[in-house]
Amino acid sequence: MAVMTYRDALNAALREEMARDPDVFLMGEEVAEYDGAYKVSKGLLAEFGDHRVVDSPISELGFGGLCVGAAMAGLRPVVEFMTFNFSFLALDQVINSAAKLLYMSNGQFPIPIVFRGPTGAALQLSAQHSQACETYYVHAPGVKVVTPATPADAKGLLKAAIRDNDPVAFMEGELLYNFKGDVPEDDDFVIPLGVADLKHEGDDVTIVTHGKMVHVALQAANKLSTEGIGADVVDLRSIRPLDVDAILRSVQKTNRAVYLEEGWAYVGVGAQIVATIQEGAFDYLDAPVLRVTQADVPMPYAKNLEMMAKPSADRVVEACNKVLYREAR
């Protein structure tokens, strides 16, 4: 085990996978000479050369599509989007090419590609730079969506994503890059996609979440525990494939659930999770499943408004109290 930041864990995963497989290359804006907009690719240019660490023009559709083509022809590209906000320009190639080529070609063209970068809000970056993009990607069959919350998950899941033969949208958190944690140093430390992780255990209520919101959920769980309420925090880690069993197992134990996500509620990831719970554990539920999400508005700039728009530990506690039919203290 080594203590490292989320950023360095991602960097280690990239370095190890590039060393392991010469077909893996990294392309994106500022990934090479600038060492990465968020320094995730620091040192990779020096180690692997401009042949494999490639600065692209600001052309998301173009380099997104180029990398899908390279994957069609057998390479294993890692595409860095400076943030997933910018990836909307490339969505045609993600949804219409990467997600569908295997199916349309009846299995002839697997697309082993990773699209990675930060999703969600940071601080006061306002509407166009502060949105959770999971829903756009997770909607289409053919794309996996992975959202690591800790340095260890970041490393193990990125390695898994790079070795995977399907397109993977790997969504990081800008505010997590400096977050430190224990990370196994083993070169073959990989975490299978589709396996949720119980980040906190309790018997009274289930908080299901993913990505950066895991930390908000943990704050809420700690707060609840001081009041004698035990919460399970189920970190999905990947939204597709979805670990349905882990969600249902917890709900069957606690009989109450809250979904927490950074994105908008309307047709968001939470809508899917709530449907999954009511389909699979209806008879176990003692209360309606509630969602804590971003307010249904574009992200405002003003600090006070931004705080109001974002999900918070207090709102999670409030939702947990509601499903427990419990007066807040």
């Binding site: 599509g65 180029l66 083509g69 045609d92 080529l101 349309m104 033969n165 990989v190």
Partner: protein, 359 residues
């Protein structure tokens, strides 16, 4: 439509026969190829009319010179990628007409087991990289295939076909720019039939087609796609330049669509005058032009042409019969190939790369 009768398609201006250095046997092969494509598409048209084919169906009739001229100038290991008017380009690259027709019919014998349809022919084994349905979607993909070639220091090239409308898409410009800065081995071939669906190119562009690659410093050229020998010779030369490390090329291949945009569009439609279509079908038929050249040069006679045409018709008929007899996909096919890595229970698996079919 090219008949097998000796009707002379008189060009408006007689020009001396130019074989472009192409041997008579090759010229005959190119005629044979174009006849195969023509008879195939006519058979598809017939099958569509009787409900054997559904959905969108874009025929290549009139544009056969582009497929034959460009693709036959390549090596087998070169890659071809195209848009949705893809039937004959798949055949030109070596896909069996039976498989193309069965795909049109939505049958298991099709190139994609019936799951792609008219716009999505694929054949990895002959490096036919598809049939793509979003205008210009194939242009960044082609550039990525060329990136792979350079990454692996190979000497294959990519030919990327697109219609004239594709050059107004952002992906076209982004891809050409990257192909240029990284000197990638790709030839961008515009099959310029002058209409993006029903919109004339002159209505949506103030610049000539051949100028469209100039912002990226990609050398551009123009060739008459109805003259298959000229097209072949030109693409052969471009392929050599690109293969030798010359970087990408852009070529405006002038052609004309003898049918509607798709099967739901009448031959002339509301957007192009009937006389224009008649003029082109009468004077600009790539099959008739080469046929007349070969007659004049004494390389082919009427009997030879009829024999060649009979073979093409027979092949199209066989394709029809094969497709009609091919089973429809079973229900198990519905969920197949959504994901590359699944376990026996159909769940997604973590790492099955060793089992990928092509590694």
């Amino acid at each position: 439509m090219a008949g097998t009768k000796t009707r002379r398609a008189k060009a408006p201006k007689e020009s001396p026969f130019d074989m472009h250095g192409i041997a008579p046997e090759l010229a005959l092969d190119l005629l044979r190829e174009m006849l195969r494509y023509r008879r195939f598409e006519e058979k598809a048209e017939e099958a569509y009319a009787i409900g054997k084919i559904g959905g969108f169906c874009h025929l290549h009739i009139g544009q056969e010179g582009v497929a034959a001229g460009a693709i036959k100038a390549l090596r087998e290991s070169d890659y071809v990628i195209t848009g949705y008017r893809d039937h004959t380009e798949a055949i030109a690259k070596g896909v069996a007409p039976t498989a193309v027709m069965a795909e049109l019919f939505g049958r298991t014998g099709g190139t994609s087991g019936g799951k792609g349809g008219s716009m999505h022919m694929f054949a990895r084994s002959v490096r036919f990289m598809g049939g793509h349905g979003i205008v210009s979607g194939q242009v960044p993909l082609a550039t990525g295939i060329a990136f792979r070639i350079k990454y692996k220091s190979e000497d294959d090239i990519v030919v990327c076909f697109m219609g004239d409308a594709a050059v107004n898409q952002g992906g076209f410009h982004e891809a050409l720019n990257m192909a240029a800065i990284w000197e990638l081995p790709v030839i961008f071939v515009v099959e310029n039939n002058h209409y993006g669906m029903g919109t004339a190119f002159r209505r949506v562009s103030l610049t000539d087609m051949v100028e469209r690659s100039s912002p990226y410093a990609i050398p551009a050229s123009k060739v008459n796609g109805q003259d298959v020998l000229a097209t072949y010779a030109h693409l052969r030369d471009l392929a050599a330049e690109v293969r030798n490390g010359g970087g990408p090329r852009f070529v405006d291949v002038e052609t004309y669509r003898f049918r509607g945009h798709s099967m739901s569009d009448p031959v002339s439609g509301t957007y192009r005058p009937k006389e224009e279509v008649e003029q082109h079908t009468h004077f600009d038929d790539p099959i008739a032009i080469l046929r007349d050249h070969l007659f004049e040069a004494g390389i082919l006679d009427q009997d030879g042409l009829e024999a060649m045409d009979a073979e093409a018709r027979e092949e199209a008929q066989e394709a029809f019969e094969f497709a009609d007899a091919s089973p429809v996909p079973g229900p198990e096919a519905l969920y197949e190939h959504v994901w590359a890595d699944v376990d026996g229970d159909g769940r997604l698996r973590f790492d099955g790369r060793e089992e990928a079919p092509w590694r």
